[in-house]
């Protein structure tokens, strides 16, 4: 196990290197560049700008320059937001996304597993149908609809909450309510549906029947065996889901004006802000690789039958 962990940890670096390298070269193939705009810049001005950012050098040299600076922990200047570098923008926005994402994820996890469990234990009763219907609605209605609908009801019609903002003025943490609900909706649904399905599988398995035959108490069986085994697919889903949520959601951040990292994923690509794209890629990949790594370790904890040799 220890060897497995060390190997996986060391594996982080080559994986990251591959991701950065592929990304670095492919994004340059995309049509348009960071400094193109409605008004085509005169050739001379464009050359001046490219020279300033070393974009006139051969691509391999640029790659070497970039990798050296990344190893020093410097993600380079942003081509769009010129007053600060990529480190600054990520440092400013990532904490906001982390806060929002972790609150939303915690809520969806707790409620989702609870709902899934209730549903599974009362399979094919009205409780089950009700819970699952809520979950399906949660996943069917896209975030970009849930968000504006919430704004329309609670801000525009009832006037209870501000339309958007992030800890703005007198509102404080209240501004978190709608983004958290919006962000949780589909994660809750996924978790509820997945845990219901896998708890049902476990309930049918041999060892639960054996446990019951042995006369163990229902609650013991439920928490010791069923829940542990039932969480497996949820945990698999959580790896990618967690990394996506922690690094921010463009939709939620746009609708509620959350100054998070999610917007940069989309905007940097649309702006061809190469360094910012790579910055977001690096942040996301690191979190994702670590999350998937953690997930693999949790597997072994949840299910003793899983072992890594």
């Amino acid at each position: 196990m220890t060897r497995y962990i060390i190997r996986r940890f060391l594996g982080l670096f080559p994986t990251l290197l591959i991701i950065i390298t592929i990304s670095f070269f492919i994004i340059r193939i995309a049509p348009g560049g960071p400094f193109d705009s409605e008004k085509t810049l005169p050739k001379q001005i464009m050359e001046n700008i490219e020279k300033k950012y070393h974009l006139d050098e051969p691509l391999l040299k640029q790659y070497a320059r970039y990798m050296i600076s990344v190893m020093r922990g410097d993600l380079g200047p942003s081509y769009r937001y010129k007053d600060q570098d990529v480190n600054y923008y990520i440092g400013k926005s990532l904490p906001n996304s982390l806060i929002l994402g972790s609150i939303a994820m915690t809520i969806s996890l707790v409620l989702g597993i609870l709902a899934g469990m209730i549903s599974a234990l009362r399979q094919n009763t009205w409780v089950d149908y009700l819970v699952m219907s809520v979950a399906i609605i949660g996943i069917t209605i896209p975030l970009f609809v849930i968000g504006p609908v919430l704004v329309y009801i609670f801000a525009m019609k009832l006037g209870w909450l501000p339309t958007s903002g992030w800890f703005t003025g007198r509102y404080g943490w209240v501004t978190l309510i709608m983004p958290v609900i919006t962000l949780s909706a589909d994660k809750f649904a996924y978790i509820a549906r997945l845990s219901r399905a896998s708890i049902l599988e476990i309930l049918r398995s041999d060892y639960i029947r054996t446990a019951r035959a042995k006369g163990l108490k229902n609650s013991t069986i439920l928490f010791k065996h069923v829940l542990k085994g039932g969480l497996l697919p949820v945990v698999s889903y959580l790896g990618p889901a967690f990394s996506a949520v922690l690094t921010g959601s463009i939709v939620v951040e746009t609708v509620f004006r959350v100054p998070g990292l999610g917007k940069f994923f989309v905007q940097s690509a649309l702006n061809r802000d190469y360094t910012l794209i790579l910055g977001t890629v690096i942040v996301y990949s690191v979190i994702l690789i670590i999350m998937n790594f953690v997930v693999d370790i949790i597997y072994a904890y949840l299910d003793p039958r899983i072992s890594y040799k």
């Binding site: 049509p31 001046n48 649309l270």
Partner: protein, 526 residues
């Protein structure tokens, strides 16, 4: 294991929490605070690095050049220059500067202007808008291209309070152009001290009516009055908050909910209700929405086809029902402006269009190849393109497909000329017809439609070297006649209006104008 993870996670939360808890104190709204929905996060507060409208709005608060602009008419008003005069050739302008200082007390002199303008032109600054001074100031282009040193630029500090500029040609409205941020001054002394962080609130030095108070990326940027400003008695607002969001529904909802005081844009889908509101302000705006033809591609290489397509579109219904904010149907590239009567353009009935199409070899649209309309992804462009598509199919029997691309891909496709018909729009950089026409000269970088006509080029060149006046306008008009009415190189669709939401009973000093320029120093709470 699980506990450890949870523990780590908690630590992460606490750390993250303490990071943002620091900068989030804000006074309740008691003073004259003006909140602006500014459509995008500013790219920079270094005026030599910006190129967009949101930055321009901030420039009006934090910066000021030789002149500023009148909030009502957009005409130039004295800024750092108290007065100015021009010699008989119309080429040499002399500005008399007032005694004033930066917000840190360092005096602003004629040398400040020389240093700043040389900075914007310096190739190492790589200023995106450097083309503007390079185009108008004598010797500036050579310095910007690296062919000559800074000494070639014909600007000079005669003494501390006298600044002289020599122009390439007698450009009309040049003084108005000097209010543009491309001619801004920057605090070179402050930049030397903090080259990488001088635009941060703690280091910021400016000379505008306001100074930078705070700047949280993607959240807000606030400014407060500048004590050292020469005209500080005019400045009435206690604070301006610029809130960036590029989603027009989010911005508009903030306005409706009283979270911002000025919305510089209205979502197309809300027009029906907005028109009934008292604080909806519409004004003609110097801009044109048009479709470009790639004149080398079949079948639009035939001028008869181009004219037929243009006649086959009912612009009146389009502006009334599809855009609907009071835009005017356009047949000329240049919107009507003082002293300039635009070309009549191509007008005709559907029957005329069919006749032209038949002459071109496609009677009733038969045999006409399927054409493509290229546009960048946006609600407005989609709606217009769908309308045009249906019109051409119904009126002319022509089938067309719609192709949308995201912004940068679209720009690239358009620049390369890889299209047949493409949507485009143009907003005046300065109030003069030439800004709408010069980009269509043969071989110009922006001329993706590959339009080329000697007569057009000759007239444009002649006009560039002429003094302002009716003769110059006649040359420009001739060029436009050739370009639009004869060759129909592009198909104008409508002339813009600017739309704002602002309660003018509450806020004074804000006026609609043809440039949509709104200097904040004049705004006050009634």
């Amino acid at each position: 294991m699980m506990k450890k993870i949870l523990f780590l996670f908690l630590i992460l939360l606490v750390v993250a929490g303490s990071v943002f808890a620091g900068g989030k104190k804000e006074a309740a709204k008691e003073k004259a605070e003006f909140l602006v929905w500014n459509q995008a996060e500013p790219q920079s507060l270094d005026w030599h690095q910006i190129e967009g409208v949101p930055e321009h709005r901030i420039y009006y608060s934090l910066g000021e050049g030789l002149v500023t602009s009148d909030p009502d008419t957009a005409e130039p008003l004295p800024g750092v220059a108290e007065s100015w005069d021009v010699d008989s050739s119309g080429l040499i302008y002399t500005f008399h500067l007032r005694k004033t200082t930066w917000s840190d007390g360092v005096p602003i002199t004629a040398k400040t202007f020389v240093d700043s303008w040389l900075r914007v032109l310096n190739p190492e600054t790589a200023a995106p808008y450097a083309w503007f001074p390079a185009d108008v100031i004598a010797g500036a282009a050579a310095y910007n291209s690296g062919e000559a040193g800074p000494e070639s630029v014909k600007i000079k500090a005669v003494d501390d309070s006298t600044f002289q500029v020599e122009l390439v040609g007698a450009m009309p409205a040049i003084v108005s152009a000097f209010s543009h941020y491309a001619f801004a001054i920057v605090p070179t002394h402050a930049i030397a001290k903090n080259p990488d962080s001088w635009t941060q609130p703690e280091n910021y030095v400016g000379n505008g009516p306001f100074v930078l108070e705070s700047w949280e990326p993607q959240d807000k940027l606030t400014v407060v009055p500048n004590d050292k400003y020469w005209d500080k008695k005019t400045v009435k607002l206690d604070r301006i908050v610029y809130i960036p969001t590029d989603d027009d529904n989010v911005g508009f909802n903030m306005y409706l909910n009283g979270e911002v005081d000025w919305a510089p844009e209205v979502p197309l889908a809300q027009l029906e209700s907005v028109k009934l509101m008292d604080d909806y302000v519409v004004a003609p705006y110097l801009g044109v929405y048009y479709y470009i033809f790639q004149v080398e591609k079949e079948p639009v290489n035939d001028v008869r086809v181009r004219k037929a397509l243009s006649m086959g579109l009912d612009r009146d219904t389009l502006v009334k029902k599809v855009t609907g904010a009071g835009e005017t149907a356009a047949y000329s590239m240049v919107p009507p402006m003082a002293g300039y009567k635009p070309t009549p353009g191509v007008k005709g009935t559907i029957d005329d269009a069919k006749k032209l199409l038949a002459e071109a070899g496609y009677p009733g649209g038969k045999g006409f190849p399927e054409i493509e309309i290229l546009y960048n992804t946006s609600d407005r462009h989609l709606k217009i393109a769908e309308f045009v598509q249906e019109q051409w199919e119904k009126n002319l029997g022509i089938k067309c497909t719609l192709v949308n691309q995201e912004w940068k891909t679209y720009l690239d496709t358009r620049k390369q000329g890889e299209f047949m018909v493409a949507r485009a729009g143009w907003i005046a950089d300065y109030p003069d017809p030439s800004t709408f026409l010069e980009m269509f000269g043969s071989g110009k970088a922006m001329n993706g439609g590959k339009y080329s006509n000697k007569i057009f080029d000759e007239n444009m060149e002649a006009a560039a070297r002429m003094a302002p006046g009716p003769e110059r306008f006649a040359k420009l008009r001739k060029a436009e006649d050739v370009f639009i009415t004869e060759d129909h190189g592009v198909m104008p669709i409508y002339h813009y209006v600017s739309q704002s939401m602002i309660d003018t009973n509450k806020w004074g000093g804000w006026y609609p104008n043809a440039m949509d320029w709104h200097p904040t120093k004049f705004i006050y709470k009634k």
